[in-house]
Subunit: 368 residues, 2 copies
């Protein structure tokens, strides 16, 4: 608890710790002495301002404890070692067909990647407190199980315990969008926001609401599936088997499907290239942008967030979309919500998953 | 705090109170003695089960403290005295054009209604701890201000302090849909639900999400405006000035507008009467029912509730709609959400607002 207080406040005196924790000055001094002795906390040169005796400020020693962040997706595994201030120390990527192999193989690969990372840092004194993993699909984060992932072809994989068995370090897992939202809240676009809506647009469309830094999970950890809200009961068939889902107007595969009605189009880059000269291509993109604006306006009606982060492969590849989406959103948004929220692009971009996985690991360690 | 624990547990022993409150047995005995002396708590005949010495169970004395619930709408003010178990003791209704008169007049009427109620109960020993008021519109519940109500033509009315000044009893106010949801959670359809979605369908369409008994308010207390999510950017003009809001398919005025394209229709009852013989009328109703089902499915995607309560004048007048809406919802709902939630009709119906206002008053009193 004391570690957590120091982390949240960054710089704090023993007297403030005593006040906030409602523990006696003696107990605090004893705990701090232990933590300093273990190298987890250090005294800074700075002293507290304000009236009364000046007190030495304490901070976490960021390089005393390390966490390991892991990102898994269809065809790649990434792992990185982070210090306690979420600074990446070493990082490693490995292309591998996670979606086409036995999950046990993926677990083996994750573990050997982590072990090679630890070897690379060559710091014998380093302590690795926990591993965080962010991966697509439906996750039971309490029990550490990947319940279902279409992307990786996984069903009921006991990821947490499989990795823990091999490494002997506590492991925590969560959905990739949720750890990304956690990263943006902790170190990115949404710092200090009380209610943040994180929207990811790419091969699917999903959202994560964060309330005071906690993911809003709903009754069965499945809140935020905005891409599968129905817009038109007679609309285009969605990959989920239903018609007119919002993502059928926005997801990359939907745009490519549309494009192929007029001209052979392999991927989203070809569509954007075509949009420079062809009006049919820019019309497809403009419609998607309009629906993105409408989607944000609708999410604002439901969640009333103070900030909205637009993320995902589409806006990461084409950042100019953010301004276009914002303009469209302004046309849709209902008067009472004007000026109640701001739209941000993801500050951490492609690093958000790894950083978020490390934040998950850190938070869980401090919660113990 | 002790009163609150007794209220939540209904029947509880001193030993359990001591354990839950982390206070010593001596302190608990002293506090309970005071509360019994003041008549707020009483010993029941029952004793605790389980191993160990049998302990006398305590309960709140429901008729020791009373709260007053008030409901205000366009053309009516209702007030009722409730005992601590939310049983209505006396109730009074007054028709009055709240929407066409000076808000100060409404405040005068509320206060004289309450005073006449207190007189009627003729119980000199009765203590009135607080007043709760549920009213339509945008409310700042922390400061007790009716910020904006189209229904009553109010803007920035300091309702809490105006009533408190005249009565000398603490007053708490909240939006009518929110107090209704609170009533259903506390005494109606949603008891023991962890995440409840309350949907009201009538002249407007709105929703309230309750998470563990607390209203989810969003960043500026405006979450849940599902009726103003856009379904069709080129749709029918909504009363909010935008096009294609979900409520333009569902709200009573929208159905009457549609009906009048074919046959003069004054109100929703005439439409339902016509639907017995006229296919155009039943087609209007069936479409509205379909959109209600779609709306619930969409809300489930966003909030992932474990229970959904469908309420409001439309389903209260025509309860057969609930089954029809449920059938439609089943057609829309995405596979992963099947069996994660249940749809209920409002158990408290027209009394929900008054009961909820009283629950608000009780909760605020116990929070002190």
């Amino acid at each position: 608890m004391i570690l957590n207080l120091i982390k949240v406040h960054r710089l704090i005196s023993r007297a403030q710790l005593s006040k906030l924790s409602k523990m006696s000055a003696t107990s605090i001094s004893r705990i701090i002495a232990e933590l300093i002795n273990e190298g987890l906390v250090r005294e800074t040169g700075q002293t507290s301002s304000g009236v009364g005796r000046q007190a030495v400020l304490l901070e976490l020693n960021p390089s005393a404890i390390f966490t390991i962040g892991v990102e898994i997706d269809r065809e790649i595994i990434k792992a990185a070692i982070f210090d306690f201030s979420a600074k990446s120390i070493t990082e490693i990527h490995q292309s591998t067909a996670v979606n086409n192999s036995d999950p046990n193989e993926a677990v083996d690969q994750i573990c050997s990647l982590i072990l090679s990372l630890i070897e690379k840092t060559a710091n014998e004194a380093a302590r690795y407190c926990s591993v965080g993993i962010g991966l697509p699909g439906v996750i039971n984060s309490d029990e550490g199980v990947s319940l279902f992932s279409a992307q990786m072809n996984w069903k009921n994989i006991q990821l947490k315990s499989l990795v823990e068995e091999r490494l002997g370090i506590p492991v925590y897992i969560d959905n990739d969008q949720k750890v990304k939202a956690l990263a943006e809240y902790s170190y990115g676009s949404a710092q200090n926001s009380k209610s943040t809506l994180f929207i990811g647009i790419g091969s699917g469309v999903g959202s994560v609401l964060m309330v005071n830094g906690n993911v809003f999970r709903g009754g069965s950890n499945s809140a935020g599936e905005i891409g599968h809200t129905t817009i038109d009961p007679n609309g285009i068939l969605c990959e989920c088997g239903r018609r007119g889902c919002l993502q059928t107007y926005i997801a990359d595969w939907a745009l490519i499907q549309e494009a192929n009605k007029l001209s052979p189009t392999q991927n989203i880059d070809q569509l954007f290239e075509a949009s420079k000269t062809e009006s049919w291509a820019s019309s497809i993109i403009n419609r998607a942008v309009m629906y993105c604006g409408m989607m944000i306006s609708n999410a604002v009606c439901m969640y009333n967030p103070d900030s909205v982060i637009v993320s995902g492969s589409l806006v990461e590849s084409y950042p100019e979309l953010i301004t276009m989406i914002e303009e469209q959103c302004n046309k849709f948004v209902w008067e009472p919500y004007k000026d109640t929220f701001k739209i941000y692009s993801s500050e951490l971009g492609g690093s958000a998953n790894l950083i978020g996985a490390s934040v998950l690991a850190t938070n869980k360690y401090l919660e113990q």
